[in-house]
Amino acid sequence: IVEVFSDFYRQVADSFEQCFATLFPGGQGRMRLTEPDDPLGSGVEIEARPAGKHLRKLGLLSGGERSLTALALVFAMLRSQSTPFFVLDEVDAALDDVNLIRFLRLTEEFRSEIQLLLISHQKRTMEAADCLLGVSMSSSGNSRVISERPGERVDVASNPSRAAG
């Protein structure tokens, strides 16, 4: 039991460092056992140090920095559990443009290993989609969905974020 946890923990901790590095270039994220000599009972701490800053308490991170750190943890767990698909509802709401690009870069890394469903109001996230689903509500209070595959869109060439991807 200790080994099952320790192996899994090691995988998540390694993936967390990698995902964090994608989201915070030049920064460093680590998971840490509060009691390393007690793998059976130890708690797990998260350390997040954005680029150019000192390591401080998690609470002192900004809203956007906290979102990114949480996303690094989420994706580290997904990879370690080989989850087949995952749904994220407006997790990019607090991200500025630069961090949004980094988040989309991380989702691109995972594209072949996990199917993602993102709800978003952010334009760049829409532009990164393989499939875009538009939801509307009719005046009769009933929801509808229209789907669009960006392969079919005329304006792909004018979207710089797609040009790169």
Partner: protein
């Protein structure tokens, strides 16, 4: 294994049968406030077996049944069908495509089905677990919930990891 589609009928703001089709890569759902995007997310949690009305933003499960608008009467039943592509055989049943459905009537009576055959939640949950889809909360980050990922105490975080290992 990936999601092919989710079909909502009478689930929250989706009065009419609405099929939402996905692709294996990055799917992005967009639309104005209040149109039904988070409702789609909740329909996936629900069909995967969520027992908690709180995950449906309510204290009563019956609130997931379309409750009417000025031009459409309330319905008596909500049904969601999730269709999964199983060509990689990750789900331990011998079908290339697997449809999981859940219905709820206003009486409180509910029903599950697997490829059209009446089924129990326990059996469906077992099949999903084999493919790395735990109970719904392991495949969804709900709106506003990403920050909570970081608020866990070290001991709580450890149990989350233990459960996942």
């Amino acid at each position: 294994m990936f999601l092919k589609s989710v079909t909502l009928k009478g689930f929250k703001s989706f009065a009419e049968t609405t099929a939402v089709d996905f692709v294996p890569g990055l799917n992005v759902v967009v639309g104005p406030n209040g149109t039904g995007k988070s409702n789609i997310v909740e329909s996936i949690a629900w069909v995967l077996g969520s027992q908690s009305p709180t995950s449906m933003r309510s204290n009563q499960m019956a609130d997931v049944i379309f409750s009417g608008s000025h031009s459409k009467p309330a319905l008596g039943r909500a049904e969601v069908v999730l269709t999964l592509c199983n060509e990689d055989g990750r789900l331990p049943i011998d079908f290339p495509e697997v449809a999981i459905s859940r219905s709820l009537f206003r009486s409180g009576e509910s029903a599950y089905a697997l490829n059209g055959a009446p089924s129990r939640l326990g059996d469906i949950a077992e099949i999903l677990a084999a493919a790395g889809v735990g109970r719904h909360r392991h495949v969804i980050v709900s709106q506003g919930r990403i920050d909570a990922m970081l608020s866990a105490k070290p001991a709580e975080r450890r149990s989350i990891l233990e459960e996942a290992a």
